[in-house]
């Protein structure tokens, strides 16, 4: 009898534990989801500088030879390859670094670094290159005259000039022959509360995207905890993309 009671107690305990877990998941998961949605900016609300979108790349998790982020970007933004790499548009590319002294190799994605002080915006004669209040650097294709001075000024080779006619464009990523373009941080997704396509595509979890101005965001917490760096930090551009493990 005593044995039976013990069994019932254990059964009851397991039942309570599991149902609590299910209940917790059921309550918290939508909360997390809704929190994301709630954080998405309503379409009629102006972008503010209270938010600074940023990305942290953990090069330790970024696999050499993996280009899922590059492929995801191409699909998301309708970038097609021409067979002539020198004129292909590249919004994100994989770069492999080998330390000349030690031979240690590192792999990482390079994209527009969404500088707080972007040289491309400084040099653009018409103001077509601009930075949104939330830190995303974009090109207004309507007033870009195609002078390519921004490409000369960008320290990261992040910009591409469109050398020929483009077909099958995505409605959310308008492009045009004779204008310059670059990574938009998938602004159309970010405005809906989603992450950029490259971040979503990275199975390794090597990329974290979020609001660097929100101390509670994952990216802010990670940036507080780990040693990160800015590429060509000597230029003092205050980049929106930070790297860990280089």
């Amino acid at each position: 009898m005593a044995n039976n009671d013990t069994n019932i107690d254990q059964y009851r305990r397991r039942f309570l534990e599991r149902s609590t877990a299910v209940l917790a998941a059921g309550v918290i998961a939508p909360g997390v989801f809704l929190h994301t949605v709630a954080n998405a900016r309503p379409a009629d609300e102006a972008v503010t500088s209270k938010v600074r979108w940023g990305m942290l790349v953990d090069s330790g998790k970024c696999k050499t030879g993996c280009d899922k982020c590059v492929k995801a970007c191409e699909v998301e933004n309708g970038l097609t390859r021409t067979g002539r790499p020198e004129i292909d548009a590249q919004w994100i590319r994989k770069v492999t670094l080998k330390n000349k002294q030690t031979g240690h190799t590192t792999s990482l994605p390079m994209l527009c670094q969404h500088c707080a002080e972007p040289p491309c915006v400084d040099v653009c004669p018409t103001g077509a290159s601009f930075k949104r209040a939330d830190g995303i650097v974009l090109v207004d294709k309507h007033i870009c005259i195609g002078c390519r001075y921004c490409m000369m000024a960008c320290p990261y080779k992040a910009r591409s000039f469109i050398h020929e006619d483009i077909t099958d464009q995505k409605a959310h990523a308008p492009r045009g022959k004779g204008t310059v373009e670059s990574c938009t941080f998938c602004v159309h997704r970010v405005d809906k509360g989603q992450s950029p396509a490259c971040v979503s595509a990275c199975d390794e979890g090597a990329m974290v995207f979020g609001d660097m101005n929100d101390p509670q965001s994952e990216i802010s917490q990670r940036l507080r905890e780990v040693q990160s760096m800015e590429i060509r930090g000597d230029l003092g551009l205050n980049l929106g993309v930070r790297y860990q493990g280089i």
């Binding site: 020198e86 590249q90 400084d122 320290p155 591409s160 006619d165 004779g178």
Partner: protein
């Protein structure tokens, strides 16, 4: 000395007509190339996402730099009061306007959207040196036009010096702006240097004078107007001085870079390992464009106008080579993003970028040069830009008939 007299050229000779036909043909070819590039997109050029500025920019920047330099002869006359140069001032102003227009046409027709010129004229980002340059270029055309009016309209002559001064200061600021297009590029190893502005100013002295000399001499040979030793010798010594000055600043630029370890990569690329760029620098700019003209101008034992003209031609070739090295060579060297690392990617990271100039680009550039020369050829026919005589007795205030023979003998 008589008041310098400028007169229109007759412009009825077969040589003049042939010149216009050739220049017109080149302009038409350039225009055709621009339409082709605009219609097809820039994939028909040698430019790509690594070398974003190519041959059109080599020609355009050369023309713009030479434009401000071409005005120097007028400045020497109106601002510094050297009367020998007075008869040359109108041609100097005309050439300055023509070269600038030629350069700007090339620059605009190379844009990804030349049709949006009106956008560039109505949307300004005042932090951009490019936007500043739009004002500086247009202002230069206006200032020099007013200066020419003061100069050529007898009633307005009292204002010549003031207008000349404004034009002189404006041209210095303009070339500062042109040099700063490169000087302000913080990201690139070969640019990002304050010396770019003064170097471009001195280059403008040299290249502009070289173009002026060629245009002047060819006009005089073509029209059979007399030209004396004095003016040829002045041109000879002035060009010589300017070529030396450019060499000095180019040397300072490279020596300063060589002192800093971080610039050793780009310097060994340009000066030693860069293939075409190294050759363009040493053979094109240093030897053909500087040493050879200096030898010809100073040690050939001749002040003949042909020698000075050949030297001027060499300076122009050297200048184009220098522009190629600065504009293309500076982009060919890979951006240094990760010091101490070898960088590999499928987007040309860490490798020397390849550029093969295409025919349409070269035709566009040549078209700009031809357009500038067409303006000059047309200008000297319709207005009084070209002096009737540059004989010593007509321009030299110290001219004495009894010593002229001796001077000629020693100069020859």
């Amino acid at each position: 000395m008589k008041y310098p007299v400028c007169r229109e050229i007759e412009g009825k000779s077969s040589a003049y007509v042939a010149l216009l036909v050739i220049l017109g043909g080149l302009v038409a070819l350039g225009l055709g190339a621009a339409i082709y590039m605009e219609h097809q997109g820039h994939h028909v050029t040698g430019m790509n996402n690594q070398i974003v500025w190519g041959m059109p920019h080599v020609f355009a920047v050369f023309l713009i730099v030479a434009a401000s330099g071409a005005l120097n002869v007028a400045s020497i006359s109106s601002v510094f009061g050297k009367v020998v140069y007075k008869p040359l001032a109108p041609l100097s102003g005309l050439l300055a306007i023509a070269l600038l227009v030629g350069g700007l046409v090339v620059l605009v027709l190379d844009l990804g959207h030349p049709d949006r010129l009106i956008v560039a004229m109505t949307n300004y980002n005042f932090k951009s040196i490019f936007a500043w340059n739009i004002f500086l270029y247009n202002g230069f055309l206006a200032v020099v036009a007013v200066y020419l009016w003061m100069l050529m309209e007898r009633r307005m002559n009292t204002y010549t010096k003031a207008a000349g001064m404004v034009a002189f200061v404006w041209r210095l600021i303009l070339t500062t702006g042109t040099g700063s297009i490169f000087g302000f590029l913080v990201a690139r190893q070969f640019y990002d240097a304050a010396i770019m502005a003064p170097m471009f100013i001195v280059m403008s002295f040299s290249f502009g004078l070289a173009v002026f000399i060629l245009v002047l001499f060819v006009s005089f040979w073509g029209t059979g107007r007399p030209m004396g030793e004095v003016i040829v010798d002045r041109m000879r010594s002035l060009l010589s001085l300017f070529v030396l000055a450019v060499l000095f600043l180019v040397a300072i630029f490279h020596v300063t870079n060589l002192y800093a370890t971080e610039h050793h990569g780009i310097e060994s690329f340009i000066l030693r390992d860069g293939g075409i760029y190294t050759m363009m620098f040493w053979v094109g700019y240093v030897f053909v464009g500087s040493v050879l003209p200096l030898l010809l101008l100073n040690f050939s034992g001749s002040s003949r106008s042909e020698v000075v003209a050949v030297s001027a031609g060499l300076v122009i070739l050297g200048g184009l080579a220098m522009m190629y090295v600065i504009i293309i060579g500076g982009q060919a060297y890979p951006l240094v993003m990760f010091p101490g690392y070898e960088v590999v990617s499928d987007f040309s990271d860490g490798v020397v970028n390849v550029y093969r100039p295409s025919l349409p680009e070269i035709l566009l550039g040549m078209g700009g040069v031809a357009f500038a020369l067409t303006i000059v050829a047309f200008g000297v026919k319709v207005l009084r830009f070209l002096p009737l005589s540059l004989a010593d007795k007509d321009i030299d205030p110290h001219y004495r008939p009894d010593t002229a023979g001796g001077a000629t003998a020693s100069g020859a």
